[in-house]
């Protein structure tokens, strides 16, 4: 294999994951359906009082996003582990941290971005005010990279384990709490007409922190798991 730079390798990893996701489009739709069902379960459980629902809606969307993203996490490394290409990634001369960053990016593009669009649509259907909707979507946009990055780390830790999905949820959900807190707090404040810059900066800060630190931890986790 002729070398190539780290950047071409990164682009290849990202392109390969996106292409694979595109060829199995049905699997991208499943989490979206799950997300929609989860969001629609809450009105059924709470009752059709419109005002209560509108207050709770951003929080419901956030929790549904967290759960839906957890469901897609095992796929980040599972297929590559099954066909052995994960070992090749680990053996490649390029920095593994960069390559796993691309895997996380692919997960965000295929697992999180569609959720944001759908979440925004659902909220608009339920009649959320524009300002709150914008705060919710911006919060999701800034916060969801953290979810993908931490999720990729947990996915690397549990790669190839039986019962991995449940274990993944157990590992990731506690770590998702800061993002959930700042994201829902932004939407709540926006509903009251309070500025939400503070939450947005905090979410962006968390994203940058996760972007800088988790790839190294994910690479270490992969090496630990592959032995």
């Amino acid at each position: 294999m002729s070398g190539g730079t780290a950047l071409t390798a990164a682009r290849a990893v990202l392109g390969r994951d996106l292409l694979r996701a595109w060829r199995r489009r049905g699997e991208i739709v499943q989490p979206l359906v799950f997300f929609t069902i989860t969001v629609y379960l809450f009105p059924l459980a709470i009752g059709p009082a419109h005002d209560t629902l509108r207050v709770l809606l951003p929080s419901i969307v956030w929790v549904a996003v967290l759960l839906s993203m957890t469901l897609t996490l095992p796929d980040v490394f599972a297929a590559d582990h099954a066909d052995g290409s994960l070992d090749h990634l680990a053996l490649s001369p390029h920095p593994l941290a960069l390559l796993v960053l691309m895997k996380a990016g692919a997960h965000w593009l295929t697992g999180a971005a569609p959720l944001l669009v759908l979440g925004g649509l659902l909220c608009a259907v339920f009649g959320l005010e524009t300002y709150t909707l914008r705060a919710l979507l911006l919060g999701l946009l800034l916060g969801s990279p953290v979810l993908s990055l931490i999720g990729t780390l947990a996915s690397a830790l549990t790669v190839g384990l039986r019962g991995g999905t449940l274990l993944l949820a157990l590992l990731t959900l506690p770590m998702y709490i800061p993002v959930l807190i700042f994201g829902t707090s932004a939407a709540r404040n926006a509903a009251l007409g309070i500025p939400v810059q503070a939450e947005m900066y905090l979410l962006a800060g968390l994203s940058v922190l996760a972007l800088t630190l988790t790839p190294w931890a994910t690479a270490a986790a992969l090496r630990a798991r592959l032995g």
Partner: protein, 248 residues
């Protein structure tokens, strides 16, 4: 110096060392518990506001402190095992987790018992309670990961990565939850300021804290010995320990 460290970090030596030390630690811990409990339950005066029920502090606060301390021990031991490939680091980290989870649970349970008469409810969505609960989930996740991976070396390395990530995450979780809501009283004992607690109540508390710490150390050594034996079950020295010296 380095050679001595290596000798100390080899499982057979650590096993012998732990066997020698742990009875002493249990003894010291028992004495401290006797003194601390006497001081806390008999000697210390009743609180002017909370009456006798404040005395649960002598269990609650030491276990809450330990719940965080044990996590640091676990993560540090895991890091030693991961970075320098010291087997004892892996073993100690693994032995720490259930202890840390127990102390965390104890802190939550006693806090809940204390909250009922004081706040009028078993549970409030307060920052410290919530982050303590999340800490319990982190311990449980660590233990679940450890038990899911069959190969012990691989389990130790994966666990170490998780524990180190947890160390970065715990302050973030703590402050985010603090921002989210707080009802719990502020810190009573800090280094920079005079403690806002009477000395007759403080001394038993410090005694109980030391008692908990030594108990943790003693139990940790016992658990570590068990883990060493399981880790090394196929080696000659463990076989000799179990059956007596082999006759050749």
């Amino acid at each position: 110096m380095f050679e001595r460290f290596h000798k100390f970090a080899s499982p057979p030596h650590f096993h012998a060392f732990a066997r020698m030390l742990s009875p002493w630690l249990f003894g010291v811990s028992a004495l401290l518990f006797a003194a601390g409990l006497f001081g806390g339950l008999v000697y210390a005066p009743a609180d002017y506001q909370q009456g006798e029920s404040f005395r649960i502090i002598y269990i609650h606060v030491p276990s809450a402190w330990l719940s965080m301390f044990v996590y640091m021990v676990m993560a540090s031991a895991g890091a030693v095992g991961l970075i320098w490939k010291v087997k004892m680091g892996d073993i100690v980290a693994r032995a720490c987790a259930p202890l840390g989870a127990s102390f965390t649970f104890l802190a939550l349970a006693t806090g809940s018992l204390w909250g009922k008469p004081m706040w009028g409810t078993w549970w409030v969505w307060d920052a410290r309670l919530t982050s303590e609960l999340i800490l319990l989930f982190l311990y449980l996740g660590y233990m679940a990961l450890q038990s899911a991976i069959e190969d012990r070396r691989a389990a130790a390395r994966a666990g170490a990565v998780l524990a180190i990530v947890g160390v970065v995450n715990i302050p973030i979780i703590h402050y985010s939850v603090e921002w989210w809501s707080t009802l719990h009283q502020g810190a009573t004992i800090t280094k920079l300021d005079r403690p806002s607690m009477d000395i007759s109540m403080l001394i038993p508390l410090l005694g109980m804290t030391l008692a908990f710490k030594t108990l943790f150390a003693a139990v940790l050594l016992v658990r570590t010995r068990c883990e060493i034996l399981e880790f090394e079950q196929h080696t000659n020295w463990v076989r000799e320990l179990a059956t007596g010296p082999e006759v050749r």
